[in-house]
């Protein structure tokens, strides 16, 4: 496996070279496509003049704040639902009625309430991150070894102690999986909101580049969004592996 890592690079490299040659041969100034070398030049230009970094900061800040808000709320609700079965049963219909609403459908509501800006984007990201975190946390609560709860009862731990010392540590690897999933969703939703409505960040940058008929810049933004998404995912996967090691892998395989 280690010896064949270069194989993954063959096809993308061939595609890039083919695109470069095709664009150079056709020798037209396209309004919709650009040669890879031009895209790279546009990418470097936008990175060095800071515009792309500012956009990245805006997007990541909104996605991060939304993830934090929605994640904490989801964690809290998931713990309540997971630990108190009767609440879970009573809220079943309500949750199932709200959950299928597509995240972008709340966009106009957020627009109406908050107007344009960070708060609207954060609200939508929080709404979308809430559900996966809540559901996975709820499942994690149900998956806690019952004997641990018995131990907590035998030790006469108070509810807060029980949550802090037994429940959270036992469920943490699974919650981490939920956070990684929600982080990917947060970035996707943030970019989507920016493209659809919000004049901020990377999504807006790519839209402006398209409307300004700058295909090289537009594709540079697309490549950059891909790089940001991939790095975020890779960082979180690495952190998960580092923090929980085997536990996370076993849990992920079992989930």
């Amino acid at each position: 496996m280690k010896r064949s890592w270069w194989k993954g690079l063959v096809v993308p490299a061939a595609l890039i070279v083919a695109a470069e040659i095709a664009m150079r041969l056709s020798n037209t100034t396209s309004m919709s496509l650009a040669a890879p070398s031009d895209i790279l030049a546009a990418l470097l230009r936008a990175l060095f003049d800071g515009s792309m970094l500012v956009a990245t900061r805006d997007t990541l800040a909104s996605a991060g704040a939304g993830l934090l808000l929605g994640g904490l709320l989801g964690l809290l609700l998931g713990m309540i639902f997971g630990l108190i079965p009767i609440v879970n049963r009573l809220m079943e219909v309500t949750v199932e009625a709200i959950r299928p609403i597509p995240s972008v459908a709340v966009l106009p509501i957020a627009m109406l309430v908050f107007g344009f800006g960070y708060s609207m984007e954060i609200a939508i990201v929080a709404f979308s991150c809430l559900w996966p975190v809540m559901i996975l946390t709820r499942a994690a609560m149900a998956g806690i070894e019952p004997r641990l709860i018995e131990v907590a009862r035998a030790l006469r731990l108070s509810t807060t102690q029980r949550i802090a010392k037994i429940v959270l540590p036992a469920a943490l690897p699974r919650i981490m999986v939920a956070v990684r999933l929600a982080a990917a969703i947060a970035l996707v939703v943030a970019v989507t909101v920016e493209i659809a409505a919000n004049p901020l960040g990377l999504g807006y940058g790519i839209l402006v580049a398209q409307q300004g008929l700058q295909p090289d810049l537009m594709l540079a933004y697309l490549v950059w969004i891909g790089v940001v998404g991939w790095s975020l995912n890779a960082t979180l996967a690495f952190a998960e592996k580092r923090l929980f090691g085997r536990a996370a892998q076993v849990e992920a395989a079992g989930a």
Binding site: G8, S32, A105, V191, T192, I195, L207, G229
Partner: protein
């Protein structure tokens, strides 16, 4: 057991009804500005009016159609490509790293590129939906085919089956749970992208409708549209659940 389940469901419905009542009271006493939050009665009236006198039904169908065709194209291509890549370790070695890199890329980020290449057309919308919904199906199919029990392939070889027969008779059934899970995810993506595309490209449909309603402060119309989108999400999830249960009936029987 069955009675208690029914009872808890009933109680759960009651809780939901209480929430709707609370929503109505909040709206009636104007605790929240009616510009943001119309009562459920007004949203309902708007929904009924939209279907009886307005053209909400047409817009609803336009969104459903878009979502369905995009998803179908994505599923067909995803399964075919996934089967080719998943059954061949060589192709997998060359292509999998590139696919893993592209996976976290937000599908909505391709919308400006698609607009630049294809223009503001229905074809563009379909292409974006199909492209976005392709990834979950493709990756799940590759995983499903790669995870087929190797001994089954050996049986196929011993019986001297052709590659097409092996795929149709051995690999496809064995990978179908993964494929269906991918298609389920693809359907959610397709719905979100339909709404986003309608918002950005101004194609007629629910997404465009709720955005226009928000822009002209017609809050009841907006909530009616959001409720409709929630219902759409809910029923597509149920539909694919039924499909799954029907196609995978052998799985539960075998256990």
């Amino acid at each position: 057991m069955k009675w208690s389940r029914l009872l808890s469901l009933l109680a759960s419905f009651l809780v939901t009804a209480l929430f709707v009542l609370a929503w109505k009271l909040v709206a009636d006493y104007k605790l929240v500005s009616p510009v943001f939050l119309p009562g459920p009665d007004r949203a309902w009236t708007s929904l009924v009016r939209g279907f009886t006198t307005g053209d909400l039904g047409v817009k609803f169908l336009a969104t459903v159609e878009r979502m369905f065709w995009g998803w179908l194209i994505a599923s067909l291509i995803g399964v075919a490509l996934g089967a080719a890549i998943g059954t061949s370790p060589k192709l997998r070695a060359y292509l999998a790293p590139m696919l893993e890199f592209l996976r976290p890329l937000p599908a909505s980020a391709t919308i400006p590129v698609a607009i630049a290449v294809l223009g503001l057309s229905d074809g563009m919308v379909l292409a974006v939906i199909a492209f976005g919904a392709l990834w979950p199906v493709l990756l799940a199919t590759i995983h499903g085919f790669a995870a087929v029990e190797p001994r089954l392939y050996e049986v196929g070889r011993a019986l001297r089956l052709s590659r097409a027969t092996v795929i149709a008779k051995i690999a496809l059934p064995s990978a179908s749970p993964d494929i269906l899970a991918g298609m389920r995810l693809g359907l959610t993506v397709a719905l979100i992208l339909s709404v986003v595309c309608e918002m950005i490209a101004g194609r007629d449909g629910l997404g465009n409708w709720i955005l226009l309603a928000a822009r002209s402060f017609r809050a009841p119309d907006l909530y009616a549209g959001v409720i409709l989108l929630g219902l759409l999400g809910y029923f597509t999830a149920i539909a694919i659940g039924l499909l799954e249960a029907r196609l995978l009936v052998w799985r539960s029987r075998a256990r």
